[in-house]
């Protein structure tokens, strides 16, 4: 969830850095990328400016956030692939344990149960039912983690596009 925020900081400081070139080329202050427009989108995000390494050099800040973004993406790949591999391993262990359980039980079946359960049913239990487990552990985290991701992402979306201004409301009222 930190990646979009770093990307936004990078674009913000890159815009601030590129601002003098645009205003000098066009000669007027009503261009789309005027500094007032860039800053007016930052209401509620001032606390993010404290994390920047320099208060005056926007170029350095933009480079810093671009480097942090690349590092975090690299870290994401380094962490997430062993995580998925461990989940697959846990699922495979559970599948093997379940297969062993079915095998042990099928050796100890009584005479009445042998008439009830055919070999096909046991093979079906091992082949279809036990194989459900090796892939299921990849996605089990997201039953709890998905709503958590949603909460964090919505709180950042609220900071970015959750603003509205009074006079728009009055304009529609009359």
């Amino acid at each position: 969830m930190i990646m979009p925020v770093l990307l936004g900081r990078f674009i913000y400081f890159a815009n601030l850095y590129r601002e003098p070139f645009f205003s000098s080329n066009n000669g007027n202050s009503t261009t789309l990328m005027s500094e007032q427009n860039v800053r007016s989108n930052q209401q509620g995000l001032e606390w993010l400016d404290k994390l920047a390494i320099s208060s005056t050099d926007h170029h350095l800040n933009a480079l810093f956030y671009a480097g942090m973004l690349s590092l975090i993406i690299l870290l994401n790949f380094i962490v997430s692939h062993p995580y998925f591999m461990c989940n697959f391993r846990v699922g495979m262990n559970i599948r093997v344990a379940l297969t062993k359980l079915i095998y042990d039980k099928s050796l100890r079946l009584s005479q009445s149960a042998i008439q009830r359960i055919t070999i096909g049913k046991i093979v079906n239990l091992i082949s279809t039912d036990a194989s459900r487990f090796d892939a299921s552990f990849m996605a089990n985290y997201f039953i709890i983690g998905g709503p958590l991701h949603l909460i964090v992402a919505i709180s950042f979306l609220y900071l970015y596009i959750g603003k509205y201004v009074e006079y728009v409301y009055q304009y529609y009222l009359f």
């Binding site: 969830m1 979009p4 990307l7 936004g8 989108n41 070999i119 079906n124 039912d129 459900r132 596009i161």
Partner: protein, 190 residues
Amino acid sequence: MIFHHIRACFGAIIIIFLYIPFQGFMANILSRFRSKSIILTDDRLRLMAEILPAMRVIKMYCWEKPFALLVNLARRLEIVKIRHSMIVRSINLAIFFVSNKVIAFVCFVWFLETSDQQLTAEIVFVSLSLIFQIRESMTFFFPIGVSYVVESYISLCRIQVKLFIKIPSNNFFILIRNFFSKKRNQSPRN
């Protein structure tokens, strides 16, 4: 006009929260299809297990074609159920591919209607990547997790019912002994 009191990011929340009960509904349908198709798979496997040892008799009496029709019928009934569950899954997948664009569209239109600020590159890119992460976790992994949990629960129930539940004996003394024994909460040993 009520929309002007609500912030733009609630478009995403509304769509996602419309999506979660829909997921529960879909998982319910999926579990129903799966429990039906598993019964048909059992029937087909039982049929094949009976036909294969008796192949010599079938060959001797030239019963190949009726038995082939029987196997075909069992396979077709199973495939109908599998196709229904695949249709439900493809609906999930289609919603996953569309949801990113729908959420972004609703959020940006809502933002442009309610705010006087400009839609700068920063807002667009941050919102799009946040929406992408919401989509990845909520509309792809969350339904997969729900469906896998439902399916593995059904599988565990089947294994328990087939192998580990003792059928009550007709013998009265064995019933009494099982009822008063201290080990009756443990798994029965046949």
